[in-house]
Amino acid sequence: MIRAPLSVTSVLDEAADVVSITTPWAAVLILTSLPYRFLQAVFLDQLMEAGGTAYRYGNLLGGTANLIVLSILLALWGRAVYARACRLALGRGSTPGRETWRVPLVAFVSYVLTASVAIFAGYLALFTFIGFIVAVMFAGIAIGTMELNESTGLLSPFRVMGRYARRIGIPLALVFVFFCATFVALVNLAAAFSLGRWLVTAIGGFDAPHWELLFSGGNRRFWLMLFAGAILIVEPFWVAAHVVYVRKAGAVESGDDLKAWFADLRRTS
């Protein structure tokens, strides 16, 4: 049910509720995104290792990039399943069941098209920063509108997205909120690892001398994995927020939120 007028805070509030209802499905999202994020971290590690001579390792980097593309398809399917879980949870107010697996093929194919365009644009515009932000915003609207695609076509998914991109302020604000949230998650994850390492080394008769080296700030791979982990933690909230945003924006367009508010007023009076 639409509970509050469309705003950034109401979208985030309702998204947090939806994530708490759909926790089992968030696990599906995280599991399907793990290979993608892990390979991205490996790719960045290879780039940092090669440094200025990276252009000489085209085959190695290209091989990892191809694996990333394959893992993207699995990650996109996981996102599609989770977006459906969020949509069903919003309608019912309870954890959705097995019907969540039945993502309409039209919706998924349309989502692969819009998401691949967003990924392509994101890498192409990485230098410009603003372009990268627009690509992330575009990717968010793509997952939010996924289930609204009822027919296949090269342009129809973009037309659906265009309807929800008119109020540019809220999707843009969501990009900045989740950018900050990723760093908050990173700090928390790093603190949790430090605490875990400290607790394990405190166990009598158990010595882990290498752990200090492996799980410390000096290890580049540790930081890359932490960053990948932070994105995985934030991702269910990001998907849920965009599904909630699209539903609320649709309700505003149809006047449904006004009807719900008026019905509430009549009930209380």
Partner: protein, 70 residues
């Protein structure tokens, strides 16, 4: 809903922020499904795979260029 019949909230389903009855939803679904041809399916799948392939190439190109800058 498009048929403008009166229904209780339990019998209506919300889609894209609009309440529909079962008959209207079935009509809507049938009308939309009929428009998707085989060629549009093939085109969407091929274009998606091509863009993903190009994405992998651009990823390597951008990564190598950025790594060279630092």
């Amino acid at each position: 809903m498009s048929c403008t019949k009166m229904l209780c909230q339990q019998c209506a389903t919300q889609w894209d922020g609009i309440w529909h009855c079962a008959a209207c939803l079935a009509t809507k679904r049938g009308a939309r499904a009929g428009r998707s041809g085989v060629f549009s399916w093939i085109a969407v799948v091929l274009v998606s795979l091509f863009i993903l392939y190009c994405g992998a190439r651009v990823m390597v190109w951008t990564g190598a260029l950025l790594a060279g800058m630092f």
